[in-house]
């Protein structure tokens, strides 16, 4: 396909699922109501480590409406699985506080809640260890980091280069655990019918979830169906299978009825993943003009005792800036905590906070403008792999952003601008995110009535995938988008990759375009007429994706922040936020802008508000609700804008696009932290930047 002359792609088409969403007709997972449904409410471990000795199931079974109560002692056995988090009720062991230890099923939600509340669980408690620290004796080197990057990387002799560098920045940064908190809590409605299982789940990947769940119940994948047409946000927390899905299916199987299970907001803090806290040491060595000679970036993170998730925190540092001497590493410690997972830009978001903060510190140390410093260190090729970039327009983003933001009038001196009782400062940071693409399948069908149906087990978790795939299909089929219906969110559709890694549009879009092209060929063979039963074609992009040229493919961006810091209270408010991105071709400027701004908003929230507070005594995340875990509100987001530079990159995919779902969160926190430094002279190296770090 050539996108030249395309009519719909690139236009600001309204979301095709808008009418369903604004009228309340869009049904999310928990809103499916099979006949004779029962309600399951899980019970979570009240200890951080130990064993479940007994659960007084008999007592609750006497209560009105209670149908079943399950724990390890009476639960059906699942097939063994490598995914230890999914082996729900398969062991007496408690690996973290909040792990599921039982489930109650009752006729009504109220009855199930009350029975779960009063279910007596006896534990044998053992001492726990939940505190992440760099000198933990259990720190180890994982075999690789997510998804399959080398754990460490080295080039040249960074120690020697640092020792002789004219200017050295050596700083340690910390980011807290953070929880995704999509607005729709995780939920599953499980129905067993004719030996098969259907689960209405809130998931980012119906195909992947099916492949994970089916073997647990000893079934081939085609006996399991995952349905998830609408997903109320995910941000990574709905990327992998979580134990509630298994628990719902187990419960439904046990009681012989459909079962609904909603994970509560509080429960989500233990059982649906989170971003690992990190401690990161960054060392930059440069000459007097700020030209880097050495970069080292070491990250320390946590995982659980039952499953390893190693975030790729320092991976972006491997290609951001030129320097002959380099080193990056990741170390992990297994603690008695829940297993972390992907959260929007896993790796890049915390990693770039550290690297970009250090770059700002270097700019100050060298007396070089922070925009100029980044321009000066822009590499020709990927500095570690030596691969050419498919396209790299970081410098254009920095320049364009500086122009729009009015950066050139900036006085670099910190702590000198006041508006009334507010200190004002500005900061900049780079953004980046890889342009991944993986194999997917899709089908396209010409209906006899002149309409077209495109099917793919993709997920629209709010990204606008349904809309953009409609645009792509319309152009590939050379029809207006009103005549195209795109079906997503169902594992019965052609197998597709998970909505993650900002690779949805690249992966699914390729499959949709190829399926539509194949259909056009079929139509041509039929003389352009659709035969009475309709006409279908399919595509599988495995070969195309496998055959793509080896290049360094990344999107880039530059974020500019202006903050005000109250001199009396230390309250920080972001007055302006501008992101300029280079992410290939923008396929829908309306939904793309929303994606960028949404990511930047989450980045602002990360910078100023978000922290999951670990309770060392009890081992759980203490602030486990939306009153205590602060997300940005409407009032926190003032003047925020996203823009992009033209980028023509033929080495990506048929659309020429790079993923845009995650890059918006990358660099935001560093830009804000640098702006806070510029405003106050105080460098905050541990997020979030709350008033207690600034008041005095």
């Amino acid at each position: 396909m050539t996108v030249t002359g395309a009519r719909v792609t690139g236009s600001a088409l309204d979301r095709v699922d808008g009418p369903e969403k604004v009228t309340g007709r869009a049904r999310y997972a928990y809103e499916h109501r099979p006949r004779d449904v029962a309600y399951a409410v899980p019970v979570q471990a009240a200890i951080a480590r130990g064993e479940v000795v007994d659960v007084d199931v008999d007592a609750v079974l006497q209560w009105p409406g209670v149908i079943a109560a399950m724990w390890h002692g009476n639960a059906p056995r699942l097939a063994p699985s490598a995914a230890a988090e999914l082996a729900v009720l398969q062991s007496r062991q408690v690996a973290y506080r909040g792990q599921y230890v039982a489930v109650v099923v009752a006729e009504t939600y109220e009855q199930a809640c009350e029975a779960a509340r009063l279910l007596r669980v006896q534990y044998e408690e053992r001492p726990h260890d939940v505190a992440l620290r760099v000198d933990h004796p259990g720190m180890y080197r994982p075999d690789h980091v997510n998804p399959d990057y080398p754990t460490d990387s080295s080039l040249g002799d960074p120690e020697a280069a640092l020792a002789s560098a004219a200017v050295v920045v050596d700083a340690t940064y910390a980011t807290p655990a953070e929880h995704h908190n999509p607005m729709e809590p995780h939920a599953a409605v499980a129905v067993w019918e004719e030996g098969g299982l259907t689960v209405h789940d809130s998931t980012q990947g119906a195909s992947g979830l099916r492949a994970t769940i089916a073997p647990l119940f000893g079934m081939p994948p085609d006996r399991v169906r995952i349905v998830s047409p609408y997903v109320g946000g995910g941000f990574g927390s709905k990327g992998k299978a979580h134990p509630h899905v298994v628990l719902a299916a187990l419960a439904a199987k046990q009681v012989g009825r459909p079962v609904k299970l909603a994970v509560t907001r509080q429960q989500m803090f233990a059982v649906t993943g989170y971003r690992t806290p990190t401690v990161q040491r960054v060392r930059l060595g440069a000459d007097g003009d700020g030209r880097l000679v050495a970069i080292t970036h070491e990250a320390f993170e946590q995982t659980s005792t039952i499953s390893e998730f190693a975030e790729q925190t320092t991976v972006a540092t491997r290609m951001m800036y030129a320097a002959p001497h380099r080193h990056t590493s990741h170390r992990l410690v297994r603690l008695d905590v829940p297993t972390p997972t992907w959260m929007r830009a896993p790796g890049e978001a915390p990693g770039m906070f550290a690297l970009e903060s250090a770059m700002d510190e270097l700019a100050v140390a060298c007396g070089v403008d922070p925009v100029e410093l980044r321009v000066r260190n822009d590499p020709e090729r990927d500095p570690e792999s030596g691969l050419p970039f498919s396209s790299r327009n970081l410098v254009a983003c920095l320049r364009e952003g500086a122009r729009r933001f009015g950066w050139h009038e900036r006085d670099p001196r910190p702590g000198i601008r006041r508006r009334g009782r507010v200190l004002v400062g500005t900061g900049v940071a780079s953004s980046t995110y890889p342009a991944y693409r993986v194999a997917s399948r899709a089908s396209a069908r010409a209906e006899p009535d002149g309409r077209f149906t495109v099917r793919i087990a993709a997920a629209d978790i709010g990204t606008g995938a349904r809309t953009v795939l409609t645009q792509l299909a319309a152009d590939a089929l050379a029809v207006p988008p009103e005549r195209v219906r795109v079906e997503v969110g169902d594992s019965a559709l052609p197998k597709a990759s998970t909505a993650g890694g900002s690779m949805g549009t690249a992966s699914w879009g390729t499959a949709v375009v190829r399926a539509c092209e194949a259909l056009m060929d079929e139509l041509a063979r039929h003389g352009g007429a659709v035969p009475p039963p309709g006409l279908s074609a399919e595509a599988d992009t495995a070969q195309e994706v496998r055959g793509q040229r080896k290049l360094a493919r990344h999107a880039y961006g530059a974020q500019f922040a202006e903050v005000g810091v109250d001199v009396d209270t230390g309250e920080v408010r972001v007055l302006r936020l501008l992101g300029v991105f280079a992410a290939g071709r923008i396929l829908n400027p309306k939904t793309a802008r929303s994606q960028f701004i949404g990511g930047m908003t989450m980045g602002m929230s990360m910078a100023l508000l978000e922290e999951s507070v670990l309770d060392r005594e009890f081992g759980d995340y203490l602030n486990h609700d939306l009153a205590q875990y602060h997300l940005a509100t409407c009032a926190d987001v003032r003047d925020i804008e996203a823009a992009w530079v033209e980028e023509d990159d033929p080495d990506l995919n048929p659309m020429g696009s790079k993923g845009i779902g995650e890059i918006g969160i990358v660099g935001t926190a560093a830009a804000i932290a640098s702006a806070v430094h510029h405003a106050t002279g105080v460098r905050v190296r541990d997020l979030p930047i709350r008033l207690d770090k600034l008041v005095g």
């Binding site: 309204d14 979301r15 609750v60 999509p182 607005m183 609408y230 701004i597």
Partner: protein, 183 residues
């Protein structure tokens, strides 16, 4: 609400549910219904009346996704016990449109892309309708200055809509959509 501590007692046996027969008026339809006193309006709407447009985001009044209108005022249906509103008129997202034509806010939300995943959207819309009525009545907000009539500029809308969280970060578009519809 007497300030005394209430703690879990060692209940020997769970008492049976206590129910109440009501006539619930939702979107001008009257529903005769028997409810458990423990049912929240949100759960009654979603689980009993199949009005699933109102969303459960936190179940503790901390996110706003469950916002509905009770006698025209916006409230959190997750903190409202159904037994307490049998003599009220309830309006949900399903009742916002007038007949076949959408509410102007619904159209503006689509036009200005004021949502992404859509889960907070019904609550945002009901909240916006209630908020416009409050402003019309001259109610101030935390950012209002002076005693004059309310002028719904961006700052006012942002503050007044802060009880509705949106994790996708559609706030600027929500504000713009409301501003376009506000008088």
């Amino acid at each position: 609400m007497n300030g005394e501590a209430n703690t879990i007692r060692g209940d020997a046996a769970a008492p049976a549910p206590i129910t109440s027969d009501l006539r619930l008026s939702v979107n001008k339809d009257v529903h005769p219904i028997t409810v458990d006193t423990r049912e929240t309006l949100l759960d009654t709407l979603r689980e009993r009346l199949d009005l699933t447009g109102s969303k459960k985001g936190c179940d503790h009044g901390q996110c706003g996704a469950c916002t509905v209108l009770v006698d025209g005022r916006r409230v959190k249906s997750c903190l409202t016990l159904t037994v307490t509103v049998d003599d009220r008129e309830i309006t949900t997202i399903e009742g916002l449109a007038g007949g076949d034509s959408p509410h102007p806010l619904q159209e503006a939300f689509i036009e200005y892309d004021a949502f992404q995943c859509g889960y907070c959207t019904p609550g945002q819309l009901c909240s916006a309708v209630g908020m416009l009525a409050e402003a019309q009545d001259g109610w101030p907000s935390a950012v209002s200055e002076g005693d004059g009539p309310v002028v719904l500029d961006e700052e006012e809308i942002r503050e007044r809509m802060s009880g509705n969280l949106c994790r996708c970060g559609a706030y600027p578009n929500i504000v713009e959509a409301i501003r376009r519809v506000a008088p």
